[in-house]
Amino acid sequence: MSITDTPVWILACMVDDIEEEDVIRFDHGDRTFAIYRSIKDEYFATDGMCTHEHVHLADGLLMGYIIECPKHNGRFDCRTGQAKGAPVSVNLRTYPVKVEDGRVMIQVR
């Protein structure tokens, strides 16, 4: 499936696929995303790869709203994608998320 220029909602996972305060990887077409579930049962989505180097963030640790890259300790706020200091300096791209009937949907272009 390819992603077009028109925003579309796509099914990323079911709510139970992610534990509280955790993250999973979601691949769609040739793109990869990280889907987060907070301790308050909120869901967020960002690009799946660290902006520093070629590492999947879904292998890292979510601490509150901070996702830590599993390789170099780069940290981002999963709500905003904001890079929180060296070795990362480029923010992550974030995506709108909605939950419908236990399904976690993300809006992508």
């Binding site: 955790d22 180097e53 601490m63 890259c69 390789k71 170099h72 300790n73 060296a86 070795p87 300096s89």
Partner: protein
């Protein structure tokens, strides 16, 4: 490049032939083998705590204070020697693992505690904090990839004399002071430019100036007191206490495969006694550390248990590791293509797919 003896020489510089070759072959920033581990178990191992590192740091600082005080108290008599030997190891060797763990941001849960211990340990072991933070990030991205990893200690052929000199940090300190002087004048060398981003350069320059100022202060203290005692406490222990860090450090990768994308083939896990593990902050579990670098040092024994079935057998002791390392390094002086092939579970590694990629055609 082939030398006069027909040997394939490696280019370990980060801007040379093998650097370009590693990139062209997909060895740079590549995907590495990871042992399978359930997500829930990994999450528990990744969990941060302040307690273990606060306890260990208090013991470390107390031991530094006691041995340093003993050295000063008995200064001028032979009795000060054992105190300074112990102080030196705590200062010049234990700081290696403290620097290392805190650079990963995993030793403490609280970030500023990591940063404080990181900066203190960096000064003790004379590693400029910004340079080494980025250098170590590259070491983890491209572990023992020739032309990419700036922290390969045992080149092929190995510099045995340099390794022996570094038992007392002689070569490394000479090198570090050259870098300090360069950085203090507002410059980086071309290799450092490849892994330190521009936004960090000014930090490098100012910290280099600060380090030099601190050393000038220690020298001034020695002149004022007409004694080297201040330098015995600050500065010289980097040299006279370095030997144990060098002995530990060589076990990490020396003599193992280069250009392999599997930490089980280029790193060693060596079982050590509790005192060594305290001094080394469990970095003897080196395969585990490289495969999952965000697991804190205090959780590495548990990680070892979790993945050991998928790893080569650990070396039972430091002595066992050196029984392999010393003959390997000596052999590599004559035959740089020789390396130790680790035996993986269920099959024997006959050769790596990528180990010989450095054997590029002669230029």
């Amino acid at each position: 490049m082939v030398d006069n003896d027909g040997r394939n020489n490696r280019d370990y510089s980060l801007t040379g032939r093998d650097a370009h070759f590693a990139e062209a072959c997909g060895l740079a920033n590549a995907d590495w083998y990871h042992c399978a581990i359930p997500r829930k178990e990994l999450k528990n191992l990744l969990k941060r705590q302040d307690g273990p590192a606060i306890r260990d740091t208090l013991i470390w600082i107390s031991a530094l204070a006691v041995t340093g005080f003993g050295g000063v108290w008995f200064w001028g008599s032979w009795v000060c020697i054992p105190f300074f030997i112990a102080y030196g190891v705590l200062y010049g060797s234990a700081s290696d693992s403290r620097w290392h763990e805190c650079s990963h941001g995993t030793a403490f849960k609280t970030r500023w505690l990591n940063n404080i211990v990181y900066h203190i340990a960096c000064f003790m072991i004379l590693r400029e904090p910004t340079i080494w933070r980025w250098s170590h990030a590259r070491h983890h991205t491209d572990t023992v990839i020739v032309g990419r990893d700036p922290e390969i200690v045992a080149h092929r052929p190995p510099d045995i004399l340099g390794m022996l000199l570094n038992l007392f940090a002689i070569k490394s300190t000479f090198h570090a002071f050259g870098k300090l002087l360069l950085h203090a004048t507002g410059r980086l060398d071309p290799e450092e430019m490849t892994f330190v981003p521009e936004m960090e350069h000014s930090k490098v320059y100012w910290v280099a100036r600060l380090y030099l100022l601190l050393f000038v202060g220690v020298a001034a203290g020695c002149v004022a007191l007409a004694s080297i005692l201040p330098a015995m406490l600050i500065g010289l222990p980097t040299l006279y206490g370095a030997w144990l860090a060098q002995i530990f450090g060589l076990t990490q990768h020396a003599g193992l495969g280069e250009n392999v994308l599997d930490h089980r083939l280029n790193s060693r896990t060596v079982m050590m006694n509790p005192v060594f593990r305290f001094l080394y902050w469990n970095m003897n579990y080196h395969i585990e550390h490289h495969m999952f670098p965000m697991v804190p040092y205090h959780a590495l024994p548990k990680l070892h248990e979790a993945i050991k079935a998928d790893c080569p057998a650990p070396y039972p002791s430091l002595l066992a590791a050196y029984r392999e390392i010393i003959p390997t390094l000596l052999k590599q002086r004559r035959d740089p293509d020789y390396f130790v092939q680790r035996r993986l579970p269920d099959h024997v590694v006959t050769n790596s797919d990528t180990e010989n990629l450095h054997l590029a055609p002669a230029e």
